[in-house]
Symmetry: C2
Subunit: 416 residues, 2 copies
């Protein structure tokens, strides 16, 4: 891709191009931040109106059954399943990623202890998204049973860090900062060979890259619906449990939605025999229902097509930045190898924060993460090749004019 | 209230009558189930549209700050605070009631242990809503530290059950089945005299009856926004912590929203110094925003006025049922004493289930709870005296004709 015309030509030939019309896009923005918050499906407003006016206002309490509210967490899980290599009855869309991680970490530690109580280590990466580490710290601190978090600084150190002390390895498939993607199948094998359980966080994977949870033999997974799945701001997260673990795991957030017969008003908790035991309390139905409008768009394509375009977009972006913005101290921190790349590209720059502010002021919305990282997410359902071109041109202009050095910019953005 | 005309006259003189227009009510229904799911504020559809079209679709990621999404859990907590005798900075609207109960039970047990590690008992009522008991069972089972749940069968047994072994007393202020209301201030004193902490569940109290958390010296509380507060199906719940406990409690669901600086990407969890440490993961913004449309209606009145009408409605209902439906084996199980009554009335009847089905078929929507309990909730913001009259007339008709004995009814409702 050497010219804007060539970008437009790629868009004309793009089999996913029609999907873009399914979203209500801000016309003043080139949005490269779907890795943080996905965009709004056009169907979302009408769906919210139907849930509020027809199901809630008119259907009232009867909608728990008639409108399928009770079944929604499982029904959406089944709809999401093909995107991550899962089967029906293996996913619930519920609560937040942090809460689901808490449930599954506790469940995994308990399952590990039931087999061998000497395993007291959770292995993770120091560069993981902080909430994952915070949750592990909360679990460890709260159990007071001598569990420990073993953090590695580099993915290459993982095989050596996973040993006979390890109960669970908690990894995020695609790193939020760098876009580095693990080999899920290979690492899960390493984890299992060491006798530990594999818990994968798919926050930056679901809807972004092909995932095959069952194919890779993973034990547990959590993920996010508000990024590449376009489920809405803070939309409920998901939890996946391999079928063979479902009836044996015990998770501590034993609320009534996880009971096998919630309306029996049984005073004793008896968990659902399947994935239902990952549920806890009553779910926020309006936000949950909107998740479906995001998932429905994926029904018109498949993750192989999404991946093909994702790699073409990120390849083009890397190539254009490196050629058209050469000599500006930008360092690619996302892997060049396709097998190690998610659907985002990150560059480090000493003035990363200021550059991103200047880009956003020009309508190119990526985001910034400490220290010095410019993140650009590429969502094949709505990102065009011409967006890639225009974003790089804006970046080139910001770098060439060093906009952030102007007194006006400094005053507006409190740059010191 | 002896005639329908008298009911209409009471409605004409009712200072809360204008509030009814703030809700989108189903015109075919007399809805006496706001104790289970509140009705939809008229403002809800427009608010959802604004959040989806303006804040999400157009404002995109910037809305976390510009539209106040990050601050919403606390801002709504401050708005809710006056309804339950709390101050600003004491409540967050977040997660589910079950999840918040887990956080606070764990926090309370830990605080108790830090003072006296011999206290290993959680006191509760067997007749509490099951999810509260399930969560306590989950906490106890998970901690494996020898905690125990001590259940009493009758509120009168509580003072004797609370002793030097007691760490926490977890009580629901208004019972979901009977509508019985505890004396929160007196019981909190009993709990404190025994050296234990008081954790109150306000699911059936917030927006239904006056509550004075600070006045009663309560330690911790949770509550629901989707019943009398009309926040929407499954709308996020709330957690309250007395100011003097906020900086000392430790809760295990230590997600990034509870960190004192979530965007520093600190690998170590350091909790917010105030109520913010009760937050965990990213919240479902559309559902959360709708809570405000319910709270806003309460700004036009106060809980004394709500309570005055609530007692008038429930008094009238009890009186009419007992006079006009006399001789039909209905037993009042809600206290007659105002000080012990929430905003619902429950009657037991051997054919409770069938009677409720017949009532619902006639557009009078209460609900049924095992064993044999007909529940009727009265929400003073939208329930009229004429609704009370008409509901009792429908009940009288169902009882007189014994509708549930007809073969058609049995066939339709699978009554055996």
């Amino acid at each position: 891709m050497k010219t804007r015309d060539e970008a437009r030509s790629l868009d004309r030939d793009d089999p996913l191009a029609p999907m873009r019309r399914r979203f209500a896009l801000n016309p003043r923005t080139i949005y490269l931040n779907g890795n943080s918050l996905g965009v709004a499906p056009r169907a979302a407003v009408a769906r919210a109106r139907a849930v509020i006016s027809e199901e809630w206002a008119d259907g009232l309490i009867g909608s728990w059954n008639k409108a399928g509210w009770f079944a929604l967490a499982r029904r959406l899980g089944d709809k999401l399943a093909p995107l991550v290599g899962a089967a029906a009855g293996e996913i619930v869309v519920t609560d937040t990623l942090s809460v689901n991680l808490f449930k599954l970490l506790c469940a995994a530690l308990r399952l590990a202890a039931s087999r061998n109580d000497d395993r007291r280590v959770i292995v993770a990466e120091r560069g993981n998204f902080p909430t994952d580490l915070y949750i592990a710290q909360g679990v460890i601190d709260h159990l007071e049973r001598g569990y420990a978090l073993r953090l590695v600084d580099d993915a290459a150190q993982l095989p050596d860090a996973i040993d006979r002390d390890t109960a669970v390895v908690m990894l995020t498939h695609v790193n939020y900062r760098t876009g580095f993607m693990h080999d899920m199948a290979a690492l899960t094998q390493v984890i299992h060979r060491a006798g530990a359980f594999a818990l994968w966080d798919l926050a930056h994977s679901a809807g972004a890259v092909p995932v095959d949870l069952n194919g890779a033999g993973v034990d547990f997974a959590v993920g996010c619906t508000y990024k590449y799945l376009n489920g809405g701001p803070g939309a409920p997260a998901f939890a996946w449990v391999a079928k063979h673990h479902q009836s044996t795991i015990v998770q501590p957030l034993s609320g009534w939605w996880g009971h096998r017969a919630p309306f029996d008003m049984d005073p004793v908790y008896r968990p659902d025999e399947g994935i239902g035991r990952m549920l806890c309390g009553t779910q926020p139905i309006v936000s949950l229902a909107l998740v479906e409008t995001g998932l429905d768009v994926f029904l018109e394509t498949d993750m192989r097509a999404v991946r093909r375009k994702s790699l073409a977009l990120t390849d083009a972006f890397i190539d254009l930045v490196e050629t058209r913005c050469a000599g500006h101290a930008l360092t690619l921190i996302t892997p060049r190898a396709h097998a190690q790349r998610g659907s985002q590209v990150s560059f480090a720059h000493p003035h990363g924060y200021e550059i991103m502010q200047a880009l956003i002021a020009r309508g190119v919305v990526g985001d910034y993460r400490e220290p010095g990282v410019l993140r650009f997410g590429f969502a094949p359902l709505y990102t065009r090749f011409v967006d890639v071109w225009d974003a790089v041109e804006a970046l080139r202009d910001v770098l060439a004019t060093q906009t952030w050095r102007s007194p006006e910019f400094a005053a507006r953005h409190s740059v010191t």
